[in-house]
Each structure stands twice: as C-alpha cells, then as structure tokens.
C-alpha cells in the first residue's frame, strides 16, 4: 500500500539527506533499518495527503467565496489582497487566491478569548479533541488513484463515519461549555441533527455495501467500473439521500441550523474567537471535502469513467486517475456551493420532519429496491449467481 511516491528511499542511501545515513548506519542494528525506512516513508506519505487535503480545503473556501458570495451575489468575490503581514507575497495576487491564507494569518494574530464563566476544560480540550482532530485522522483512508491509498482496512469507511460522528459531540461540548445561550441552543441543535441524519446517511451507504459486499473505497470503485455505470445512476434514490444527509452532516444550507446566524448569532461558535473560530470554520470545509471524497468513490465511480472508458490507462497511469478524481471532487463540491447560494434554511422541527418522515422511509425503500433486484435480477449489479 502507499502512493509509491517515496519508494526510492527504500534501498540504498544515496537519496537520503547528508547526515542521516552517517548516523543510522553505525548506530542502528541492520535488522531495524528496514522498519525505520518504512516509517519515514509512511510519515512522508501522510504529510502528502494532509498537504493535499489542506490545500484543497483552502481552495474550496476560495471557490465558495468566488461563487456563492461572489458571482451569485453579483459581486466578484475576493480579487486581490493587500498584505499587511510583511508584504512577502507582494501587494496583489491574481483572483484573490491568497485571500484565505491572509485571513488565516489574521486569525492567528487575534486575541484568544476564553469566556470567564466558560467551563475551561471542555471548552479548551473538547473542541480540539472532537471537532478539529478527528477529520485529520481520515487522510490515510482516502485513495488518490485507482489503487493509491495509504491504508485500506477491511472496515474502510465505517471508520470514517465513526470519526465523522464525533463532530456533533464536539459541537455540543463546545456549545454547552462556552456558557452562552446561543451556543447552548446551537450545540443541542447539532445533536438533534446528528441523531436524525446519521441514520439515512448510513442506510444510503448500506445499500452500496449490500451490492458491493465491501467497505473499501478501492474495491467499491473497482466494482462500479465493471458495472459500466456508477451507482449514482443505478440507485438514484440512495444518491439523493446521501447528498441530503451529507448536507446536514456538514452543516451547510439548507441544514445549517446549528449556526443559524439569523436567530443564533453564530450558533455554537458564538464564543469562539481568533484561531479557534478559524479552526472551526476550516474543519467544516475539511469535512465537506472528505464528504465529497466519499461521495465520489461511493456513487460516482471514483477514478473510473462510465462505460469502462480508458479503464486500462486509469489503472496504470496514476496521474490520470488522480486528475479524474480531482475533477469529480470539484464538480461534487460545486453542487454544494450552488445549493448554498440558492436555498433558505429550514427550521429545526422541519429538519426532523424531513429526516424522520422523508429520508428514512426513502432510504428503507431504497434498500428494499436493492434487495429485490439482488434477489431476482442480480446481473443488474454485475453479480453472477
């Protein structure tokens, strides 16, 4: 497993930077050199995926500002930045691409305020442990090509959703401990949203698992390649449920009720300032990016194109597969930005109505549809009885 980007570090010492071989060779027994090499390679690969995810998150926020708060609002979004932090990027930049980096720096320079009457331990630890940290663990499970993935465990995306479910817990802890009524209501709304939207989300994914008999991204994408068409077309109900539930999961319009700014100021993040606020916003987009990854691999066929177009090339040329995934990711994200620019926000009780009376029955119907097809016409999903 791995991306194979750093395999040239495996044998020989000529590519290692200067002093390391001099230290390792005399000091470390020869049987330990192999594990050290693979440890270094794994660390480098984890850094690669993390850099990839962070850069894409920044670009995603930029795209949202360009489209949703830019063109849709008859404005142009960020166009240039006036860098007051040492002028090291120059005064302007094309398309406002550096806007988010400038603002990250700005948030770090802000005062970090912990409310005097806040419950300090959960406010400080709960937020970072449950909101910020879990999504960063997920990088290892995300494939960047047909087979390029750091870890492909048997539980696959069950692990991803287990970590996903920690997010509302962190939101509730942060909202409750910050001792603010708006945050409290926002936190509880998040909990309510979780219990009503995790279920349809898992049910819609269960339909995919029923067909593919696997929890692995790589395996599911490969099976869709043999079916000629991706699951988004073969099981449209499941795909729509997945999209709606993911919107609620990532707390975006029309399901952004935990931070409904019209009545709750900033919802659960009202008391977050400076870099805490920045981390909370960045995490939201980070989760959207990971959600887009899941959607692309589960329902859009991952790196494969419909009708087995260029299947052999995709499997052998890693760069091509990577580019296809990237394009699909950005199309998927664009859908979410588009929805945000055009829909109002629902009320909490209506959200529950949609979740329990709309999505869950639909998800069960979808599963019945899948089961009936699997029983009577399994060739539809490429299963040979």
């Amino acid at each position: 497993m791995g991306y194979g980007l750093y395999d040239w570090l495996l044998d020989g010492w000529e590519w290692w930077p200067g002093i390391i071989p001099l230290l390792i060779e005399p000091l470390v027994p020869p049987e330990h050199i192999g594990p050290i090499r693979s440890f270094v390679i794994d660390s480098l690969e984890m850094t690669t995926i993390l850099v990839f995810l962070i850069v894409n998150t920044i670009l995603l926020i930029w795209l949202e500002r360009k489209i949703s708060s830019g063109r849709a609002w008859t404005a142009r979004g960020p166009v240039f930045i006036d860098f007051n932090y040492g002028h090291f990027f120059g005064r302007t930049w094309k398309f406002g691409l550096l806007q988010n980096i400038a603002e990250f720096l700005k948030f770090f320079s802000k005062e970090d305020i912990v409310p005097e009457k806040a419950d300090k331990f959960p406010f400080n630890v709960g937020f970072f442990a449950f909101v910020v940290a879990p999504p960063f663990i997920l990088g290892a499970l995300l494939p960047l090509g047909a087979t390029l993935v750091i870890a492909d465990p048997a539980v696959g995306f069950l692990l991803i959703f287990a970590l996903f479910s920690l997010y509302p817990v962190g939101v509730l802890i942060t909202g409750w401990s910050s001792n603010n009524k708006y945050s409290l209501i926002g936190g509880f709304r998040s909990a309510v949203q979780m219990i009503s939207y995790e279920i349809p989300l898992m049910l819609s994914i269960a339909s995919v698992v029923l067909v593919t008999n696997s929890f692995s991204f790589v395996e599911i994408a490969k099976q869709q390649a043999t079916l000629l068409l991706p699951f988004a077309i073969l099981m449209p109900i499941g795909f729509i449920i997945f999209m709606a539930a993911l919107t609620a999961e990532t707390e975006r319009v029309p399901f952004d009720i935990p931070e409904a700014e019209a009545e709750l100021v900033m919802g659960w993040r009202t008391e977050l300032t400076g870099f805490r606020y920045m981390m909370s916003m960045a995490t939201e987009y980070f989760i959207l990016l990971i959600g887009a990854f899941i959607g692309v691999f589960l329902f859009w066929g991952g790196p494969y194109l419909p009708f087995n177009l260029f299947k052999h090339e995709i499997e052998t040329i890693h760069l091509l597969a990577f580019l296809i995934i990237l394009v699909k990711l950005w199309i998927f994200i664009f859908l979410y930005i588009w929805v945000r620019a055009s829909l109002p926000r629902v009320r909490p009780d209506q959200l529950l109505d949609i979740g329990w009376k709309g999505l869950i029955p639909l998800a069960i119907l979808n599963i019945i549809y899948i089961v009936l097809i699997m029983l009577y016409y399994p060739q539809f999903f490429g299963v040979v009885p």
């Binding site: 509880f188 029309p254 019209a262 100021v265 829909l343 109002p344 009780d349």
Partner: protein, 362 residues
Amino acid sequence: MSEQMYIHMGPQHPVNHGLWTLKVKTAGELVIDAEVLIGYVFRMIEKIAESRPYNAIQPLTNRLCYVSGMSWEASYTMAVEKLMGVEVSKRAQYIRTIMLELQRIASHLTWLSAYSTDVGVVTMLVIAYREREYVLDLLEHVTGSRMMYNYFTAGGLRRDLPQGFKEDCHNLTHYLEERLKEYKAILDDSKVFLLRSENVGIITKNDALNLGATGPVLRASGVQADLRKIEPYLVYDELEFDIPMRTSGDCYARYEIRMEEMFQSIRLIRQALDQIPLEGEILQKPPRKLPKGDIYFRTEDPRGEAAFYIIGNDDRIPYRVKIKSPAYSNLAICNYILKGGKVADIAPTVASIDLCMGEIDR
C-alpha cells in the same frame, strides 16, 4: 434544555434590523413569552420640532425612517399644506405621486432583502439591494440625494424633474417588473422558502384590528385598508390600481402583499408618467406662518398608516408636532405573534413586520 430561560436578542443581534431588544422567554426551541424593549435611537424629534420654523422641521422628518424618507416628508408637507390651506398644482402632485411610489418600491426591496436573509437566502440580500440602488439612483437624479431627500416643500417641490426623467423612469419600471417577476419565481418555487413562511407568525383578522396593525400586516390579515383608496390624497383617485389583500395572515401573505404592492406601484408610476401635465407651477410661495388651529393628516407609508398631528399657533414655529408611526403600531403586535412559536421563527416573523427603528423611537 427543559428549563425556561431568557434570551436577549438585541440591541446587537442579527434579528434586529435597527437598535432594539427582544427579550424572549424560551423553553428549548419554544417561545413562551416575548418582550420588546425600545428607546435606543430616541432623538427628541417631536420636541425639537417645537422650537424650529415649520420648514426647518422637514429635514428632521426625512430622518424618521432611513429607508423611506420621502414618504415621511410627504406626510409632513401635506399636513402643513392642509393646515395652511395651500393647494398644490396638478403637475407637482403628479411628481409627488411618482416619487412616493418609487420610494415605496425602494422600501419594499429593502424589506425583501432583509426578510429573505432572515429566512436564510443570503443571495437575495444582495440582488434586492442592487435593484433598490437603481431606484435610488433615479431619486438622486431628481432630488440630489440618496436617502435624505428634502425634496417636497410646503407649496410644491424644490425643483422640477430633470431632463430625460420620463424615459429613465419608464425604463426602470420595465426593468423592475422583469426582475421582480424573476425574484418572485425564485422564492415561490423554493419549497424551503414556503416551509419557512407559510403558517408562521399568524395574525387573525380580529387580532390585527384589535392590536392596531396597519399597512401590509393588516392587509395580509384580510382587511382591505389602504388610505390611498379610503382617503385619497394627491392624485391617487385619478389613477387605477388595486389593493392586494390576503386572508391567511402569515409571513407568506405579508410577503405576497409587498411583492404585489411593488407591481401596483409600477402600474401607478406608468399611469402617472403618461398623465402628468406639462404645465403647472412647481413651487408656490407658502405663507410664512402656520395659522391657529390643528390638523391630523394621514398617508399610506410603505409600512402602513403614517400621520402627523400639528397644532399651529399663528407663528412660524408649530406649537406641537405629534408623529404617528406605522412601524410602532406593528411593533406592538410583535410579542403577541411570537408567543407559542419557535425560536427559529422569530427572525422571519419580526422581519415580515418590516420595522424601522428610526420612526419608532423618533
């Protein structure tokens, strides 16, 4: 969360378009009680008016409401004229009507952007403001100012229409009509918008009458009350227009009334532009002093019934100026309709009433 608690929404809170406080007693997501606290922008306008010549009060009336200054100066000017017995020429009256209807459109567009933002469509915030800016551009072209016009004066208008106004105004009405149809379609076709607006903040006909609601809020509850039809002033009795009415009394009815009113205003402007006489005195010299006596004069503001009670004392300075604000009357029903609703419904309900704190606190 089952305990009851107070949430202060205001004076700095996204719910308040203006400076006021809504003290809400909640149990979880349920609103048990609501209390309105006002007085943050009290500027003593009524008291200052007792120490100024009557024509120097008019700039103050502009500042009563920051989104419809024209309609307030119109009410004041017409009240003064009625007290002094000055008759304005037909041309000036037509121009006044056009200006008032343009102001009504601008005010309702501001409301549209505020309401849609509170429901959650932030895109509408910007695009409704864009159209409002075109209306304000036209008003600026005529009066020289975007918000504080000071255009009407006792005896007529400060200046005549500029060249090319007629074509500009016609073009604007066509542009606005097209755009408003588009926005109505955007919002009406949105299921989520209907979910948030229908059956929210209901006022029944009896309650609306008893609590003293005016304007679009009253008309949305099934009372066809519009002073432009009941007590026509200016040239409203010579123009054809309908008074929209709904019976459901919810936020969606209020939204529909205001959208419909914008179309009716466009209709009025077009008729007035066609019928406007070319000859006519723009500004007559009014008397220097207000005669002894009092007058109560009311007009249809974008928010409802706006009125001035003026007591003259055979002096340039009026003895008393009392302002009756429609937004104040509508604010009074606020706590009544919020009771028993949801916390998430506070924002759209308050926004659908269309408050303007400048004229409430005065």
